[in-house]
Assembly symmetry: C2
Homo-oligomer: 134 residues x 2
């Protein structure tokens, strides 16, 4: 059987940040927040922790327009995201018809092992009003 991961200070710290954060954030942002809070964790470890959590489906991961990977602790089950480009604030959304549509399209064209990516990006109301402040 598989070994359970050890309960280390670093892993707990990363999970705690994800708990607190509302939106998606990059590994480096999480690393910075940890430094600010004085619970410093090595950058490599942050990356590793997020990888493991993502593989275990404990967190969701997506790429922003710049190709950076962002992470977020989401609710369970398949869903997609409406993400603010500026602050990362996120709304989880479901599109039952899209799921079926994607699978049907793939099926009709003889594709196997199908997966799909679907994200909506925009600027949230908060960031829209804060646009031109000193």
């Amino acid at each position: 059987m598989v070994e359970a991961p050890r309960n280390t200070r670093q892993r707990r710290a990363v999970v705690a940040i994800l708990d607190d954060l509302d939106g998606f954030a990059s590994a480096q942002e999480i690393h910075d927040i940890l430094k600010q809070r004085g619970e410093s964790v090595g950058l490599s470890t942050v990356y590793r922790s997020l990888q493991v959590l993502a593989e275990a489906a404990e967190v969701d991961a997506l790429r922003n327009a710049d190709g950076e990977v962002l992470y977020r602790q989401c609710s369970a089950g398949h869903h997609h995201h409406l993400v603010c480009r500026a602050c990362g604030r996120t709304v989880e959304v479901e599109g039952p018809t899209v799921e079926r549509w994607a699978d049907r399209i793939a099926e009709e064209n003889g594709f196997r092992d199908v997966a799909h990516t679907l994200e909506i990006f925009g600027t949230c109301d908060r960031c829209t009003s804060n646009r031109d402040l000193p």
Copy 2:
């Protein structure tokens, strides 16, 4: 006004490759193909050409699971893609309901400047049958 881009051998060569290719390909793959055909073009130039073409919406761009950017000469108009992970073969697909759904979701949540990404990845029938050859 904007200057028209110059009609150089290199730009023509890149466009010619995109014309011939059926599926999505990375800048480096296109660079390799050019080298094979003896119409060598600098890697920087390949990247620049593809960038310009993408900004002008002459080609579509997307990221594969590894985060690499792939390019393809598509038909005009907004559409999405069913892409083979193995060979890049691509089927253009349209999802009118998805478009409306995405915009409505964003609107309902007060998001502006909305864009969305939607791609379907799988293994095409050809690559499925070629799986275990010597």
